[in-house]
Symmetry: none
DNA sequence: ACATACGGGACCTCCCGTTGCT
DNA sequence: AGCAACGGGAGGTCCCGTATGT
């Protein structure tokens, strides 16, 4: 195990990197094969449906990275409110750690391709839905209706994306911190009675 | 006044339309001159610094449109909380009215070009800053420290962009309604009794 | 015998189909293996000399199909003149039956590749020569010098190809009927005295 | 007058040359701009509808060349029968003069692109129709019903194309001579009463 | 202010043929 | 016989910016 990544995997990873940093337009085959040190001649062997397929897989990969950070945050904290704070802090770290170069691969592709490519919009939608589903489950577990849990999860994701965008443009992570605070306060207010935060 | 739009104006307007709907990549000269029914021969006469200049002006125009909606919302309501609800509702209307085709021109360009083009990132940043400044003034007028007013304004803008993104991807305006509710509640809580939030 | 077609056979047949309908350029390996439901992995096992070999065999197969129609026509009629009429009528049927999609695989390849590929030009030439030889023998049997029989055979083939081309472009089989009439009349005139047409 | 050919004209001419010699597939932009010594960057300036537009114009040009040869033949001879002989002889000369490299640009494109491109099939059809129309008028002038004149014209064109194809593949102009003889004899027979053929 | 043309390059897609491994 | 991957290149399209003439 832990074999060296296959060409195909390297291409998806490279694409995800490019999407994060410079968006869909920059994820050209040329850039991808260069970044991945992959053979250009077999691009369409691995991705017979072309660039959309490659990008869709990269979006899925990017989404799973962010989702993994959410899982980590949930596991390392006791309440959803704390997890949200942690999740947003991780996002802020990544942003700052890349000198504000790495944005959210999902959001970038979503805005750049919606509503032209159903495939890609679908991939973005799926990524968002997964985060929301994870969040909603965690929220519901703290004693909240499934319906309201879903709404709160949507708000968390919306705030993450909005704050990430603003933080990136301003080169300042404050929006992420403010959004985390806004959400955590609200979550504690709505869930607090039934679940003592440790 | 109210003269017919000049060639130059038509080009900026057409570009703004293209940015909203299909992003920076679609705002090619070819598409712009076609959409604007403008002569290609004088493109570089009007915009000697090229496509970036054109796009920057289009972002500014798009930003002013959204800003105008905010002004309208503030004038037609009594509190900032109500104005935010109204502002987000207007955004939802525009989104739905265009069959979820028209997104925010500022956000799209911001993600697509940051951090490659300082000019364009600056234009986006300026647009966001203008909305925040308007909001911050209105919030401060309801009895809040300038500092906290600025933070709340940032949160409003972050939520607008995040919710708009989610609403567009899902083809459902619910995220915008939820975000408006979250913000309005918080604004009322912090400003409501006339002042003392904490 | 009458076993299921081998992979190799299916590939040649698929190629012949593609040549007839869309020409040499459309007979890419990708299209061929898809049409034939054949494994790409063994393409160069079966056709070690590459695409030219495949196409040459497909031309030969196509030529034999047309030649078989000629044999049928000769057997089911009493004179060469009648056989020509029948042959052209069969060609018209095939053309119309395919909604004017199926042309002559030999002619298409001949024009598309002559004079670049000696192999393919040779394959086409052989196909034409076979039809002419069959015709010439039949004509000579009706009492005509071998020399003149060969000339008349050439004229029949030239008219078939020319009329097929015109009929296909116009989506109208009239040119084939006219050419058949022209040839039959001439054949009857030159052979008529010695061989009463039934 | 007799100005140097424009870039656009040179491109069409070069394309016509390539179509004649090597078919539609060989008329790539790369080959065209090389042959025409034209700037590749303005290809789509001159032919905004792309390769099909270029090829359609080249087919029209090629068709007009062949048509001009027909006009010449008609003017330099006394009867249609003689003109057909002359026309076919000119075709044979061109074929032989190019060492059997130059075929008919119209026929090649017709077979290669029919029925995929309506534009190109139309261009080919138009070229054929023009020759037929010229021929039909000339035939009718010799005392033949318009209807029969049209049929005979079709036969002439079909024989030209078929014989040209065979002559090219065989590297031997005999098919063209035989076809001319066949047609001339028939024309003389059908028109003979009013115009002594011999 | 506008038109026509140049000029080089990037885009995605698809091509043909080869190479080791079953 | 068949497979997965490689490898370089050509295909048509469209890009941005510039250069001349009015």
């Amino acid at each position: 195990m832990d074999e060296p990544a296959t060409t195909r995997q390297r291409m998806v990873q490279a694409t995800e990197r490019l999407l994060r940093r410079r968006g869909y337009a920059a994820a050209s085959w040329r850039n991808v094969v260069h970044e991945a040190a992959a053979p250009w001649g077999s691009a369409y062997h691995h991705f017979p449906e072309g660039k959309e397929q490659l990008a869709a897989e990269a979006v899925a990969l990017g989404g799973s990275h962010v989702g993994a950070a959410l899982d980590t945050a949930l596991q390392s904290t006791g309440t959803v409110a704390a997890a949200v704070r942690r999740w947003f802090a991780l996002a802020a770290e990544n942003l700052k750690g890349s000198d504000f170069q790495d944005g959210c691969p999902v959001a970038t592709v979503a805005l750049e391709t919606a509503p032209q490519s159903a495939t890609l919009t679908g991939a973005c939608s799926t990524a968002f839905a997964r985060w929301e589903s994870t969040l909603a489950s965690a929220i519901a577990r703290e004693g909240c209706s499934r319906r309201r849990a879903g709404e709160l999860a949507t708000l968390v994701v919306a705030n993450l994306e909005g704050a990430l965008l603003l933080s990136r443009v301003r080169r300042d992570t404050r929006p992420l911190r403010l959004a985390a605070e806004l959400l955590a306060t609200r979550l504690e207010a709505e869930l607090g009675s039934s679940k003592p935060p440790r």
